[in-house]
Point group: C2
Chain length 248, copies 2
């Protein structure tokens, strides 16, 4: 099996991505909700059709595309019609099947409408640029994590080919979802993520005794909830979608 | 005094910036040194004169400039000739004197030649885009922190005007530097930064008992050293430079 498809290696990648995701969420949580930056009519931008946050996300993706970010099998853009890479194409190791699965619209919708309102303080602090740049980092990290479901699914498929093929042929989404689910791994993940959020979101002030520094920059349970309610289910959506087209 | 110039408020801003800096360093430290991305001849980029990292830094600044990042008194670009903002100018509260002090070339040189070689594992892991994007985040955070010395200096100046004016008139750099130095605050900062780096760089693995998880994604003392050797002295450079032009 390709080393990138060994379940243990995939888990290590996903665990390392937790830091990136939590750092990005902690950074974003320091600013208010600033709702205006998500509304297409909020801050009018000349020659751009979308919100202020979309403008920065799109600009970032245009730049990233020129250095061929989106030719990598684990990267998925939020926007279409990005520029061609200015660097010569790299012969990527492509251990998964090529598909056009990309649920970034859905990820952005959930991030904007579900996660931000519970994660940030209400109101407007005027920190639009800083907030939106944190959003870009968070969305890119979430997208990468969720679409890594393709690697997870390929790995699981290869380790139990026959069983998957019969479920895929029967188009039995419910059974596929059940088969890819490992409740024990999920439970550990949620525990670990809450511990990480507690450690990385801790306010550290040496003038206050350790036991009194209860302030957190982000609620650890909130991060675990984000994983439980959205990240894990969305990753499974990608896994199921991938498996269904894997054997077409 | 303007609230942004109260020393206590400035210290809170600097303390919050520590998280951003440490997160960025921890993120960068997961990749190898990848020296090729800092050499102007390393990865040839069509129509761009500079390194791969410079290309991404420049592209990011061009995008950021369009949303008027660099009209803010606490932001300083690494590149010149950036595009004009596409948003209408904002009436910024500008509580410090306008100067053209910008030591970003020096900051980039130290980051590239001093910090990266001791922070990252040697060698090349091919993660050029990811590494360079972490560099952009780190450089922007370092630049913001160091140039915040202008606010620090203005605050100190206002709280002891006469003494500063006589030192400035005498162009006594050594005495100015001595006067802005608070060894006690520095000592606390270094302690706090090492504690933060220990907390935020901690590997968290629930399958290993707490006392055995000694692995760190970045050495806490290294982060304290970076502050002691470079961040604090460079901030003081900015403070001194600012004071010298403050009363011209």
């Amino acid at each position: 099996m390709h080393p990138n498809l060994k379940l243990e290696n995939i888990r290590n990648v996903l665990i390392r991505q937790e830091e990136t995701i939590i750092f990005a969420l902690v950074e974003r949580a320091q600013f208010n909700h600033n709702e205006i930056i998500y509304s297409p009519d909020g801050i009018p931008i000349p020659d751009f059709n979308g919100s202020f946050m979309d403008y920065l996300l799109h600009g970032t993706e245009m730049l990233n595309a020129t250095v061929r970010r989106y030719t990598s099998p684990d990267e998925h853009p939020f926007f279409k019609n990005l520029p061609e890479p200015i660097l010569p194409a790299e012969a990527y190791d492509y251990p998964i099947k090529k598909t056009d699965i990309n649920i970034n619209d859905h990820i952005k919708e959930i991030y904007t409408n579900k996660i931000l309102p519970i994660m940030c303080d209400d109101g407007d602090d005027g920190q639009y640029g800083s907030s939106a740049l944190c959003d870009v980092a968070a969305l890119q990290a979430l997208s990468k994590r969720i679409h890594y479901g393709k690697f997870v699914a390929e790995s699981k498929f290869l380790s139990d080919k026959e069983a998957y093929i019969s479920l895929i042929k029967a188009k039995d989404k419910v059974a596929i979802r059940k088969k890819i689910t490992n409740k024990n791994v999920e439970k550990k993940l949620l525990e670990r993520v809450a511990l990480k959020a507690a450690a990385y979101g801790k306010e550290i002030d040496i003038t206050i005794p350790e036991q009194e520094t209860q302030k957190q920059k982000i609620c650890p349970q909130l991060v675990a909830d984000i994983y439980e309610k959205w990240l894990i289910p969305l990753t499974k959506d990608v896994e199921v979608d991938y498996l269904l087209v894997r054997e077409r």
